[in-house]
Symmetry: none
Subunit: 351 residues, 4 copies
């Protein structure tokens, strides 16, 4: 699977949102990568982004993107419903694939991507960047050390970036049919973190909500467009063998606060507080504290990118792997069904 | 309905747990009350408690309790499933009733109590003491001032008093068939608080859990007895007209922390942090802070007791009232059904 | 129950919406009634309405309204959640009550109203005006003649009055917590019609939708307010013993059409087409046609008002009666629960 | 995949119902096809049909059917539960497959067929003939032009062909265990039409009904046989991102009428009325009208057959394709589960 040369990995970025804003600058700064092209649904926007970053190509044509000479890898950061199309097209041409989270809009598509990557023999990775943030990485380590079996785990996010209609103009993340919503933005990261510690989710219940129903813009215009993808959610989890979980986010708060994650087990406790400090201890011990820790997305993605290169050049196991992507996808699908069907849903087994 | 004399209210306490530990000492210290008798399921225990407090009577016989001369009121703090029997017997004899929360084990019983009290023309009150705690009282006031319509409300409680089997020996609160569980202990208070601010709950989903399955004792013995009533729970709420709620408690944490309550609305924010400080502000304002505030149960119950007396002597409206008890009961019933039936349940309307 | 004098019935109207726009003008034109007072939540609005109609009193004070000398009856046209308060206060003072549909926001409140009216010995009626429209009245009669047992009944309404945010400024009918929504506006009439023909509904499934999420105004302002009460719905019914029903409304169509109602039984067919013509026939016969028939609300309400007076003055059975109101309410409650809980719900038995 | 010869396609028809009545005569009249054999469960019936149509073979033996020399394609019009067996056997022999709708009795079988056809490298098509009817084809085109996002879509069919027990003698379409029922007859066509316009169905609720419980015959006899497959149904749909749908059919009406299909979106309206006229217009425009348009099944199937040939001879994309068949199947499965489980069900993603 490895391509044991020494040069930087020639990579194309598909997507003018997160792809252009976070992934591209990181790749540009890392000497291990050589970003050569970018795709956006609007050709003009793609060309602008390419010019700004000094890339060889900006295009809205997937085939043109994948045909650029010497291309080795693609970072897929399109709207979620388009992941399968892009990732499979790349794999079929023998290109390595870094896929944004969630892998796909549903488990079936995610499995198709995984199968396509497996049969093409290329490297597949998923950008579970948040677990690479120092604050969350330390929390996971400490939890593994001290908590034992789950009693209760909770992840509570309160953001203010969607509080007003104008504070976040309309984009595909506001459109449910394109795979948008805060669950795909944040919820999947939090499910990923929980599964890293307690992998056995028995069933889920969930509620999603659109608090700000219309936003201006989309395609440059100022007209109000309907928001159909959630800006808030609450999820309950039951673990197999006992223990409860709560995962929630409100993106429309008028006053944000730092992420709070608490992990209570039968042997001890680990906690990330709102000031990015990790607390941990066993039963009977006083909690110890470390922090504030770094939680920057850019630094986290830099680590994801380096792991991706190590898998390409040295044949290392990709981390996070596509299999971890499927595991989250199964729970994510159950959350969507539970919300829609208003009942508890058991995640499907991964084929 | 008022009894316009000046003397202290002669009151009997039914229940050797909270009744003996919190209610009785408060009544004893307040000059507005004259506690005269106590009931416990075990006659010997009842006599001990009466002797210690200098009461006229300690008995395990309800009729004897209610027949003590000059008795005016009864504080019902029995296991929850016995509330209806005690409260109705008291009301039928013309005695005023202070009922522990929840009013009953189900809405039907709670309505029977309310009807019995109404037709007897006596005062009926429910001990929603927690909302009288200074910290929660201020939070409610601030929320009413600034938050507007609900976007997300969350109540998160983490206690360590049930973490070990031996830390809380077995009692009726561990027995589901007697109406035990942490939902009746804390959850109903938190539902009460939410309904004070946002009264329109559309539906609920819920999960309960027994983390420590056996506890020693009960009736003085040391043998292990099975725990059937939850020591942890998570609840999701959808509000009619929009907005989500989360209510959770873990009583088996190895490391406790202060209660955290957050109320996010379309106009502003109010929050109680883990150090008993209240924060509040409108959209665009910085949050202001007050505290730490008092959260003692005893002081809170003192206020409930005084309100009860005012209703008895001056004909004031009881606060908290039985109607507020029914409102919580409807949601509480829905939570129980939602947990068992693994689906979302709409609270019943109160007849 | 009858008040056998000859004079007009002195009546007060509670509500500045339908009450002021439809009920008051009809009462003013009918010599059988003498409208004397009007209530609105805003005192100034109430006085304006009273002045325009030459009434003795316009007030926002319920007690003042009910205390006007010689008052005999009240027409309750407030937001739905306030029906119980107004109807019961009126009945307690011995006033006859004409209640807008639905009787209340839930079956329990509706039963309380019915019980209050029964125990006060006054006349209680519900304004199921639509079934009094000539078009629907004839359809019901023809259906009873020819259709036999139910195979399928469908009611399909397509209106354009809510298509644009500005076409219907925000009022209480857009607020779910005040009992608003198109189900209370139209759905209950259509359920009433179906129950007139096939009274045995076994269970219902339902979906509601807010298509236009914000509307300007409310209290005179132009700011956008959130719409939380449905502007579209679809309902499925199963009849006990067989047969299906469909009831739907879209209030946000860009092109309206006439109401279509089809009643297919095992013996024949009756149908109201979009041009207000009734078609009917037995199996084997060709359908006959009558119409276009009148469907004016004003004429229909005139008949309801006359029936109300006949019940007051001559002791006639009120038609439509409160009992018919309860029957609809049980199905209406089931529809709400079915929508919220995403399952089939059996209507409760009427106590 | 294409077989680039010029001659007619040698095709066998499996099924003595629709296959013999509609498909065979069309193939016989089209010079692009050469029907050579027919299969029916009863050998005698098969031979009769072959004789009448001048075919080389009539048989009840699947292997014999598929072994006829020079055979290129099979039209599978058996009872639904046998589709997978026939289609897979044909594909394995390298024969192109035209499958009647629905593709199978459940999504799993449908996917097996699709996988078998894919791996055999033959052409697979599904006979979604109704969408090829001129009336429906124009409606779809107009809807795509003017309606925008869904607010409400409804399809209402009222037929009289099953009204009496004797009007349609018993056949496999009356037997649920053979995959019969009006949903497989008509409902899947209507779901197909809706998905052509609004492909994102979030969840469904449904009710089916047998109105005429016994029918004479089957296998030539006159004895009454039990009907277990629905002759009426009602379906509610919620679209992802908002909007409602209603699909209903009554096959036991005593008075039939033309199909009515209404499509209301946030930008405009398209409608097929009972006289086969299409109406359409954008918000603010008056509706324009076209028609009456042709709705003959035979003409529609002729187009399906021509498309099938183009896929075989010129390598054109089959239209309607098997993928479109799977999309309908996922919703069809959800409808069956929703009916049985009496709850809302989310369609499965297609693997």
């Amino acid at each position: 699977m490895a391509s044991p040369t020494n040069g930087p990995v020639r990579i194309a970025i598909a997507g003018g949102g997160y792809g252009a804003k976070v992934a591209l600058p990181v790749y540009s700064k890392l000497e291990e990568f050589d970003p050569v092209a970018i795709w956006s649904r609007r050709a003009e926007r793609a060309r602008e982004l390419a010019d700004e970053a000094g890339l060889e190509l900006g295009t809205s044509d997937l085939d043109e993107l994948l045909s650029i000479p010497g291309l080795e890898a693609v970072h897929v950061a399109t709207p979620v419903v388009m992941h399968a199309e892009f990732a499979l097209a790349a794999a079929e041409r023998g290109l390595h694939v870094m896929c944004e989270k969630p892998v796909a809009d549903n488990l079936e598509d995610a499995c198709r991507i995984a199968a396509g990557i497996r049969s093409a023999g290329v490297v597949g990775a998923v950008n579970w960047g948040r677990r690479m943030q120092e604050s969350r990485r330390r929390l996971i380590e400490r939890a593994r050390e001290v908590v034992g079996r789950p009693r209760m785990v909770s992840v509570s996010l309160v953001y203010d970036d969607h509080a007003e209609a104008g504070s976040r103009p309309w984009s595909w993340v506001h459109d449910a049919t394109l795979g948008g919503g805060r669950l795909q933005g944040y919820g999947v990261h939090d499910i990923d973190l929980i599964l890293e510690i307690f992998p056995d989710v028995e069933s889920v219940a969930a509620a999603t909500e659109v608090g700000v129903p219309e936003r201006p813009g989309g395609d440059g215009g100022e007209a109000m467009r309907r928001v159909t993808a959630e800006d808030a959610y609450g999820i309950l989890l039951r673990f197999r063998g006992g223990g409860l979980g709560l995962v929630s986010l409100l993106a429309t708060a008028h006053h944000r606060r730092g992420d709070v994650i608490e992990i209570h087990g039968d042997e001890g406790t680990a906690r990330l507080d709102g000031d990015r400090r990790v607390w941990w201890g066993r039963a009977g011990e006083e909690l110890r504290c470390e922090g504030p820790l770094d939680s920057s997305s850019e630094e986290a993605f830099r680590q994801v990118a380096r792991n991706f290169r190590a898998a390409i050049r040295q044949g290392a196991e990709p981390e996070p792997s596509l299999e971890e992507g499927l595991r989250v996808q199964a729970v994510f699908d159950a959350v969507r069904a539970a919300d829609v069907e208003r009942r508890w849903v058991q995640p499907k087994a991964i084929p």
